[in-house]
């Protein structure tokens, strides 16, 4: 027991900040420009489906989110991040579970669906995440080659998902918050241990969404 108490958070950090940024540089270099174009397209489709709600909005939004969550779990966590952090593979099942949840919503619309008139503010928050998240990291000091794009980074995906959940309804929408919130906390903690000022971004955004959701549900 004394041995367990002797561990500090630092002991669980296997990599340095340059190595962490290096993951995103690697992804951006390897997948440019195809993946980035797909990322922009997916973002536009989701944004459009949210802004102009129709009967196909739910399947489009949740279907695309399902694909991106599965892709991120498989590629980012299972390959890229796992190359410097063997613990990343433990999060893969959670990302796949989230993907299944969204896939179910896309196919059935039961338990999790878009609000009849999604708040435009929620949609703007989604768009904001797509544009601001990659830029904010660079502004705060990371190399621009390591910018985090939607669809190529779990942090951006989580922030974008939280914005979508603000425009969602149904009992499963509460379940859909769990994985993003846990990831937001872990990501913030990781960046804080790495000494990056970016640690504040995702947890703050998650907290903002949580407060908004709580007020809206009253």
């Amino acid at each position: 027991m004394m041995d367990l108490l002797s561990y500090s958070l630092d002991d669980f950090l296997l990599f340095s900040l340059p190595a962490y940024y290096g993951i995103f540089e690697q992804i951006n270099t390897a997948l440019w420009p195809g993946a980035h174009m797909v990322s922009v397209l997916v973002g536009l489709l989701i944004s459009g489906a949210l802004w102009w709600p129709g009967k196909w909005s739910g399947p489009v939004v949740y279907g695309l989110l399902a694909v991106v969550w599965a892709w991120t779990g498989w590629y980012f966590l299972g390959f890229e991040y796992a190359s410097i952090n063997w613990a990343a593979t433990y999060a893969v099942p959670a990302f796949f579970a989230q993907a299944l949840l969204f896939a179910g919503a896309a196919l059935s619309g039961r338990g999790l669906a878009l609000q009849e008139n999604p708040s435009h503010l929620a949609v703007l928050m989604f768009v904001f995440v797509l544009i601001a998240y990659p830029v904010s990291g660079v502004v705060l000091g990371r190399p621009w080659q390591a910018a985090e794009m939607f669809g190529l980074s779990p942090d951006t995906l989580v922030a974008a998902t939280l914005a979508v959940l603000l425009a969602s309804k149904g009992w499963l929408s509460r379940v859909a918050w769990v994985v993003p919130l846990v990831w937001a906390a872990l990501a913030g903690l990781t960046l804080w241990m790495l000494g990056s000022v970016e640690w504040i971004l995702l947890p703050s955004f998650a907290l903002l969404c949580l407060v908004w959701a709580a007020r809206s549900s009253r």
């Binding site: 041995d3 002797s6 561990y7 630092d10 002991d11 950090l13 296997l14 990599f15 340095s16 340059p18 190595a19 290096g22 993951i23 540089e25 690697q26 890229e80 190359s83 410097i84 952090n85 063997w86």
Partner: protein, 305 residues
């Protein structure tokens, strides 16, 4: 004058005054000082290279190449022992990349670890590690953090008897499991032991270091700088005037010299991702070593700050 690593690099190794009070006669500055591995008499440079965090760079080519540059500078400075583990992410693969790039396989003293709670998986893990390194066999294999040490020591002893391994050992860090380590040192036929020791974490001076010396077990020291924390803590504070007598002009040098000057220490393994730091660390192994009285003085001075 602010004494930091950059200053050391600019000043280079200073001349040592012969007979300077409290310091032992110096060795050649170009080649690092060595100590012998008690079980065989093989000489090993006093400073090696760790790979925790610093070499865990994944597939990033730029970082792989900068890690390779660190290793090249390490070998150019006369370094030999490099320590790693399957726990250290992609560090083993990074080492293998650098060894292939600079054809350093012949010079390296390869020290790795077995780290699995399953005895049955030990051999497979060792083989996977060896393939990452690209060496024909390891010089030293250690049971990492004493995980399943009884089973793994059996495996390592069998490998040694078969000639596929030269040395075996065990490791801990952060001052953990010293009681169990002491029992292992007293009872097991091992060649090496690795644990944490530095100017702040001095518990090992009480029992482990004297016991290792008594039992003829070589000692590898990890965390000589507490992962850089000690250097950050002391930098900017004045070095004692008497440290300059032996050409110590930086806190990194002061801290590392303290560790490697203990007579029971065979090799310290600071990790770094910077070429200038690895050169500075190797320079500490080329300078004069303080005697016991001066070591106490160094510890007391550091404790006061």
């Amino acid at each position: 004058m602010k004494l930091d690593r950059r200053t050391v690099l600019k000043t280079t190794a200073a001349a040592f005054g012969a007979g300077a009070a409290g310091w032992m006669p110096d060795a050649a500055l170009a080649a690092p000082l060595t100590r012998t591995i008690p079980s065989t008499g093989q000489a090993l440079p006093l400073v090696g290279l760790g790979s925790w965090v610093t070499f865990n760079v994944g597939n990033n080519q730029k970082l792989l190449d900068s890690s390779a540059d660190v290793m090249a500078a390490f070998f150019e400075s006369g370094g030999r022992l490099i320590d790693s583990s399957p726990m250290y992410g992609s560090a083993q693969a990074t080492i293998g990349y650098a060894l292939r790039k600079f054809a350093g396989t012949g010079q390296v003293f390869s020290a790795d670890k077995v780290w699995t709670s399953s005895a049955a998986d030990g051999l497979q893990q060792i083989e996977t590690s060896r393939s990452f390194w690209g060496v024909p066999k390891f010089d030293l294999l250690q049971v990492h953090n004493l995980v399943a040490w009884e089973d793994h020591l059996e495996t390592l002893q069998a490998m040694k008897a078969a000639g596929s391994l030269k040395y075996i050992g065990v490791t801990t860090s952060h001052g953990r499991s010293h009681g169990e380590l002491e029992k292992i040192l007293a009872s097991q036929p091992i060649d090496f032991v690795q644990f944490t020791y530095n100017i702040k974490d001095r518990e090992a001076e009480q029992r482990l270091l004297p016991l290792a010396k008594e039992r003829g077990i070589a000692v590898i020291i990890n965390r000589p700088f507490q992962r850089g924390y000690l250097v950050e803590q002391f930098e900017g504070k004045p070095l004692p005037g008497w440290a300059a007598e032996a050409g110590i002009t930086s806190w990194a040098q002061f801290l590392l010299t303290y560790v490697i000057s203990h007579p029971a220490v065979t090799c310290a393994i600071p990790a770094t991702s910077k070429v200038e730091h690895v050169r500075e660390n190797m320079a500490a192994a080329s300078g004069q070593l303080p005697d016991a009285a001066t070591r106490n003085r160094m510890a007391d001075y550091a404790a006061q700050l």
